[in-house]
Symmetry: D2
Subunit: 267 residues, 4 copies
């Protein structure tokens, strides 16, 4: 490889057969208004935007402002999600509604939550919903815990992407268990995207440095004091993390002079 020309080559994220240049996926909730939503999404560089069908108007309420007016589906991949669903039935019903509203669009983000406090996913219910949805022809990107066995199970079922949490939704705690994320990445053939828990730019970079294929976030951007600026930060952080991953970081050593990477010690 020529050191001088080792800049990032073509490096697309491929989900369900479609290519994306951006590896940052963003939500559309919690913004002040649609104009702020639009500006933040644009600053983020995201090409996939996720929409909580139960909370966001994409045509269900013809008299109200429609998100798709500021985020047109010919420019963005609209990813309907099942936020707010606590049972497989609710989630499946929500996905069907989304497909109808979006003219047969079959890519969905499935989440089935276990309780209202932690917003942790309910894995058995999510498995059940995923099975039904896949049978019905949906392309399922699935929100899950960071359990490597569950992640593999979702892949085996035919989910097109697996999206383990970094930390509870909206917590901003960053990646609480990098080993689990790494194990999931190492064992996967489908894209792995960290979803939920990112708080700031370095969290997103770390996800990418672990080898994740992308990151999805909403609160970290929408809840920042200056959302549009944070969206820009996240865009750069995801790119930085991806490039660092591909560039091959130096090993961690206790000293430069150490002959081997850290092994005996560990903090």
């Amino acid at each position: 490889m020529n050191a001088v020309t080792d800049a990032l080559p073509d490096d697309p994220l491929i989900i369900a057969g479609r290519r994306y240049r951006s590896r940052l996926l963003v939500g559309t909730g919690k913004y002040r208004d649609l104009e702020e939503t639009r500006a933040a999404v644009e600053a983020s560089g995201a090409e996939i935007v996720t929409v909580a069908i139960r909370r966001t108007n994409i045509g269900q309420n013809p008299d109200e402002p429609n998100l798709l007016d500021v985020l047109p589906p010919d420019r963005y991949t609209i990813l309907p999600n099942t936020a707010g669903c606590y049972s497989a039935e609710d989630a499946v019903r929500t996905c069907r509604l989304a497909r109808e509203l979006l003219d047969g669009h079959s890519l969905v983000k499935l989440e089935v939550l276990g309780d209202e406090k932690t917003l942790y996913p309910d894995i058995p219910e999510t498995l059940r919903a995923a099975e039904i949805l896949i049978r019905e022809g949906f392309q399922v990107m699935v929100y899950t815990s960071d359990d490597p066995v569950a992640a593999r199970r979702f892949e085996e079922m035919g989910c097109v992407a697996v999206m383990p949490l970094a930390a509870p939704i909206g917590s901003g705690l960053g990646i609480r268990n990098p080993y689990n994320i790494l194990t999931i990445v190492e064992n996967a053939q489908v894209p792995i995207l960290v979803d939920a828990g990112v708080g700031t730019a370095s969290d997103a970079a770390i996800a990418m440095e672990l080898g994740c294929d992308g990151v999805l976030m909403n609160t970290a951007i929408a809840g920042a004091k200056r959302p549009v600026l944070m969206a820009s930060a996240m865009r750069k952080a995801v790119e930085a993390g991806r490039e660092a991953y591909l560039a091959g970081r130096i090993p961690r050593k206790r000293y430069a002079a150490a002959s081997s990477p850290i092994d005996g010690t560990f903090f």
Copy 2:
């Protein structure tokens, strides 16, 4: 503030009265050849490049390749450093030589090391050297440990920037004690730049998110498998961290539903 136009305003780094747009400072050692050095520095976007006077030819050896041919002083601020010095006397002598070679240029990075294994700084020797150099009219950017009391002392003496380590030189361990860095930042009037120990992009982002004014690194870029790509990653990571800092991140909470940020617990 208008959410839509809250993009990063003019936000220069000012050192010794001079303005820089880039907050990433890079070293010039350990590259394969001068061409790789040039390409990596360019990809990093750095405007200040530091040069180990004892190891690098900037004119001392007229018959050998000269770093300044690829990094011309009219384009880059050349920051001579005293890498490899283990006493105040050696460091002062090195700075004087640098001033001579660089036509009276008085900005230097002072480092006086305590031992060859850890490459930790020797604070009392560094204090002694800083005192002499400041008296002789140098503008001293000083490499130090992450001790907040030492950092304030260097500022009070008149150092133009204080550069605490993240971790041992070349270790790639990232910021081992963020509280100390934060305390240094909170108490400082001069620029605080993290110097040494950065391993990958997220480390650089974290330094900026803590409120540091900049980051200096060498091994993390030069030692990566693909140095030029890592230089690009670091450029974006520093920008991402700065923007995230200015954008005002969401608080960390155990759950989105929690009424207050984390306090009772802490991991």
Copy 3:
């Protein structure tokens, strides 16, 4: 409360209606011989010892040394476990065998693993096995991931104790996600015991400081260079952690002078 007499009052661990003074449960595998097993268990102070029915002779092979000779059931609560089972069927069958070998003893530790590499539990299979076992009258202590939703589910089903992992079995990585363990503890009515992943004494103390009711370990003791001494260390660590939990630790602050516990910052 009288400061002078605030020593630990009666503080039993109660599992399935039975009271124990020790909160350290230990495994019996990987020792050099039965004599070392006996000595380590004794030094640990454990009153509950867990036995891998598929690997350990407790009477299945009448001609071989029998673990129960050194750990007599009238002195220890023998806790049969299903280590090595990868399906609900295998686990159920193993529990039935154990009940037979132990004269109708119905307390078991259920584990159903998801793969041979990480030894992570398979939650859906474990749920299935737990359901069958509870129906058949077993008192089930269940090994699970650190997923709070799964933990609650096991409790609701009627498991008598829930045992989330700290880290992969045999990894020695300690508690990788203290927030999850804490969430499980806060929501539980049954005893929560950390099982798997403990590496050294402080790991066990941390588990107890989080409010866990006990800790189960095997490799950390049996794999130490000096197992009997490590068993003693673990005994003291579990007691130390329990006492510290009950004693009410000081809040974490950045400085003693800080008026409030840490909230805005967090590392």
Copy 4:
């Protein structure tokens, strides 16, 4: 070694030629009254108790309660400290006073603080004070930052023990930079005792597992809701950590099945 009899052999802490069985040193400030002080010290098992000469009556004020009545010097090694001193002169003066009050007793704990907010030590002032005190025949145990170069310097000067901080005094943050503590331990010939920053039992255990010779604390015990119980917890934690250190812990691996300890990854 016989596995069955590998219990802890004779393992004394030796400071300034004197042998101690306990490796936990405790302060005497911040208790409700002398009776609570006495009870907590007793529960801690400490044999060395440190006394802030500027704040505690050990005979300076003949009409007031005297600490030595509840902690008699024939039973405890009284270790006068210079808490509250911000200059070498103050610290030296305080040590001389202590020697007078304690009939020529020459063992002292030196601390010279850098500022009132962080209570971080001022290393150059501490070096100056240590030099004077050693010249005057004191046996100096020195409170310092976790800077390995400073620690070695104090040892070379003739300090009888070096006491790096875990975190700021009274912060309860635990060991913020285990690598620095480990480096100090590895390079030392004199006892290394962690001093300041311990918050709960596991923090003390970790210090010992790193190979420290002992731990000194005050706020963590005196500030707990139940100080006497916390004193007992700390006693056990220090013993647990010491035994675990001597017992030789299992290596950290990502999985039990991994062939080598963790090196490439690190969190």
